[in-house]
Point group: D2
Chain length 191, copies 4
């Protein structure tokens, strides 16, 4: 984990450098997302740890968190095997895996051989998956390489939501989560 | 879900009524836990939704959350099949399942036939599993019957942690979570 | 694993000693099941490895295998904590977990303090869960203590089915298994 | 499911048409595999149902089944999105996902626009994943499109193994399967 909070906390997180977007009508910028917590999932479509854990987790965040408070964004940060993870391959991947959250392609410098893309370089990411949490003021608050549990991820996002939050309303937004229903009441157990 | 925040928010959550404790040297009270967020998991040892989802989730919270900020407690709220879920049966269950978080047995009124136990009644719980979140000031902030996702549970707990929290330190406490390690860096993918 | 095939293969497997049955109108005997492969899952209701792996696996076998060819049976072999795993506790367990396969309670010798029950002793089982496979002629063919993968368990049962089996018909019986449906055809991927 | 046993059972299964192999020093042919049961997993690297279920299941078969009796083979049957699932992309996929079973690329007819590849066409597969079981005599015995449970798959493979099989030896080969160890014996429960 790299959480260089002393360096970073008082500065704005670097802006996203994206060459193309999926699942959004408008290009997204951190500047325009001020006022929301931003969760950024940096991944590669042929990284098993991304496909098996990080990307489904990001889809769950997109499905469960209140979109008025939390912006959930994917960033395709290809730093290897460029030939087989281009825009056309990603488009198939996004469609076949039915990903619905906005996904940007991290931009490569023009006129250069492809290496580490620009946003990945600006944040000095170590690899994929990487998680970035950016607060409502646009500051990078957490940067983690590798797998994160749902519990800790939820807790971290929660701590960035305003203290005056109405928990009852937050809870209501969870109604979109299908209830496993495996529960017992006075009549019976179900599940 | 019942989140009667208008009724409850300004009042203290009812105190726990417990006849015996496991996994704690001292009996626990909400009064003594002021200053921490309290997560209370009400369960029965023969409720499948508890054993398969809620109780392992509670164990994960106990393992992952910072114990100086979040108190994770189980409450055995037996409201049916009393003969086979007594103290001796629970003791075997706690040992065999290797549960390590503190667990109290919700008290039954003395001199009465066993029905709904006292804490369960005071909170008007609908069944098991039930989740209660109590803030640092001792107020009930969320009350939910049934299954809750790790993401939303983490988020709810996070919103009750103080706004001045040092995320880097919170993140460091996650080091106790085993990292799945399924990740790619410049050298290779692992996992 | 104990697979004492030299001792056992030419002899009949010891008969079940059962004090009570659930989920069957008639008591079951190995003698009456000649002509079917018998899969016997010996378990205890407070054994986590049983509840989390073995018992759900047994339920899946009961749901997926052709009942005209394979008899799937549970045996509650309580050898410890007798006071909290009696008949009344098991009855609640079977009902709450919605187990549908026949389950017998391994008999204890009358007039003796409870120890290892009679069937468990006759088979010299090491603990729970234990798996026994008995062929169509009534001979014990496999005896394994601990967890077994679904693939190997299916393979072992398959090798005991008659060679003249009509695979197409076997396959048709799999239609009862809900198809995950996560598949791609010429039109689209689903799942 | 298509199990055209009346048409197919007495005829040899069509030979594999493969343009390149991974994870095998020698090209594989059904002809050379006579005497073993062949399990063939037809998949595409960007088919989610393959990557999430079928391909890991195939890896488990390769790890658990006795290679002297059962040949487990993957076949990359690309019938769509050809540009992004070529040999170079598959090579990355096989390496990153650490697949160890032999995988052939189903051949396309030369001098034609790419469509359904030759082996896929010969077997009239409906899509991916598809499972083919070929007996020791080289006959197609089962053909199924979509997801199959481990239990039924194991059972089907088992029924094709010779009746004289020594179950104790088969069982011993399972020793390679890591034992979950979640079991109770006279001393304690573990897991």
């Amino acid at each position: 984990m790299t959480a260089n909070t002393t360096d970073i906390n008082n500065n704005l997180a670097p802006e996203l450098q994206v060459s193309a977007w999926f699942n959004t009508a408008q290009p997204l910028t951190l500047a325009a997302l001020r006022g929301k917590v931003v969760v950024l999932h940096a991944f590669q479509m042929l990284c098993p740890g991304c496909v098996q854990f990080g990307t489904p987790q990001t889809q769950r965040m997109f499905d469960e968190f209140d979109p008025d408070r939390v912006a959930v964004i994917g960033l395709h940060t290809v730093f290897e095997n460029h030939a087989v993870m281009g825009r056309d391959a990603l488009e198939v991947f996004v469609r076949e895996y039915r990903l619905r959250f906005p996904i940007g392609i991290d931009k490569h410098e023009e006129g250069q051989p492809k290496g580490i893309p620009m946003t990945m370089r600006a944040y000095r990411m170590q690899g994929t998956p990487s998680l970035l949490l950016i607060d409502k003021a646009g500051r990078l608050r957490l940067h983690k390489f590798g797998h994160v549990s749902d519990l800790m991820l939820g807790l971290w996002v929660g701590t960035l939501l305003p203290e005056e939050i109405d928990l009852a309303a937050v809870a209501a937004s969870a109604a979109r989560t299908p209830d496993a229903g495996a529960a017992c009441n006075a009549d019976r157990c179900s599940g």
